[in-house]
């Protein structure tokens, strides 16, 4: 790199850009005037809608006039309520959750404090690791997945490690698990999506969760998904403690 290039790069830190306007409210109002036609063919389109919706929701948009109906945040997960859910794919591809590995290797490679699988459950059928991003424990029942527990580093206020897209019919209940903030999602489908560090949007199409519990424990969010009642999910989270 030449000296001039270095100088230009150094300038980036000191340029006095004009103050950034708050355009979110105006944009949201305009979007609320006419909901966009939503093409069915592109799943990713919906994901991007959520991203944009999240962007707007962050800035406290009046919800009644927009497609964004509600906004909840917990740990590294953001929950965005939308008018209509995308068609949900049925594929069971877990590659998006990371590569297969062992529990021991996941502990070593997670890059954040990782809770072990719950004590009273059999060992997971699969452990998937995306270093620094998330670790998933997967229990299978034939071709189906019975239980999925994912942990990811979630700093409160982090714009996007994971987002969840929920429909109108999904009940969202905030509570606490032993003093840790928690969210329970029940009664309707929801999709999970990630924003990868390179900015690529990836939806978590491997698992279309039944009921879901999210608990933020000291900056690491644990997500428990499966055909579970709330009490069962809470017990699972508790059983991952006390290592």
């Amino acid at each position: 790199m030449s000296g001039l290039e270095r100088e230009l790069r150094a300038l980036s830190a000191v340029v006095d850009w004009p103050a950034e306007p708050d355009v979110a409210t105006t944009v949201a109002d305009r979007l609320g005037e006419r909901p966009p036609a939503r093409p069915r063919r592109l799943r990713v389109a919906i994901v991007a809608v959520a991203l944009l919706a999240a962007l707007l929701a962050v800035l406290a948009v009046p919800p009644a006039r927009t497609a964004i109906l509600d906004w909840l945040g917990i740990g590294g997960a953001r929950i965005v309520r939308v008018d209509e859910l995308p068609p949900l794919p049925a594929r069971r591809d877990f590659d998006v959750l990371g590569h297969r590995t062992s529990s021991v290797a996941a502990q070593a490679g997670a890059g954040f404090p990782l809770a072990e699988p719950p004590r009273d459950e059999p060992a997971p059928d699969e452990v998937r690791l995306a270093p620094g991003l998330r670790v998933s424990y997967i229990w299978r029942d034939g071709d189906d997945v019975r239980l999925l527990i994912t942990q990811f580093p979630g700093r409160v206020g982090d714009p996007a490690l994971l987002k969840k897209l929920v429909g109108r019919t999904t009940a969202v209940d905030r509570f606490e698990v032993d003093g840790d903030p928690a969210v329970w999602l029940e009664g309707g489908p929801h999709a999970v999506l990630f924003v990868a560090p390179d900015g690529t949007i990836r939806d978590d199409q491997g698992w279309l969760a039944g009921n879901t519990l999210l608990v933020d424990r000291d900056g690491v969010t644990m997500r428990v998904e499966g055909q579970l009642e709330r009490e069962d999910a809470v017990e699972l989270v508790r059983a991952t403690r006390g290592r």
């Binding site: 300038l11 306007p21 355009v23 305009r30 592109l42 390179d198 690529t200």
Partner: protein
Amino acid sequence: MHQGIAFRVAYVAAGERGDAEEAVQDGFVKAYRALGRFRDGAPFRPWLLRIVANEARNRRRSAGRRTGLALRAAAASGDAAPSPEAAAVAAERRDELLEALGRLDERDREVLVHRFLLELGEEETATALGIRRGTVKSRTSRALERLRAMVGEAES
């Protein structure tokens, strides 16, 4: 999340704050409504930046405004307590560079600002400006030469 960078890209293209703000608004609305054309797996940010930049450029052209960009350096910060003399020299050099950037041809300026001041990668710059990656490389190289002819190389 993308609002800050979108506004700066718009400001570079429009050269004026009011138009940049309107371009961001229109760009976001258009992006929202054009999501069906968003390519599966493609990075979202460059796509959004391109739409915003196009909006901004169109506004500047329809207003019949010349291209130009007035950038200033903020008060120096982050330097390891330089002497007043060194700080003054550095500040002068920064102003000189920014002023020269403002005088460059639009295409030269855009590619340098995107690559260096906004710190976008080659690929992202290519998408945002609607040109090929190879063009980003060659245009950057030529623009640096022209800038060097105006301000010289750093002394140290």
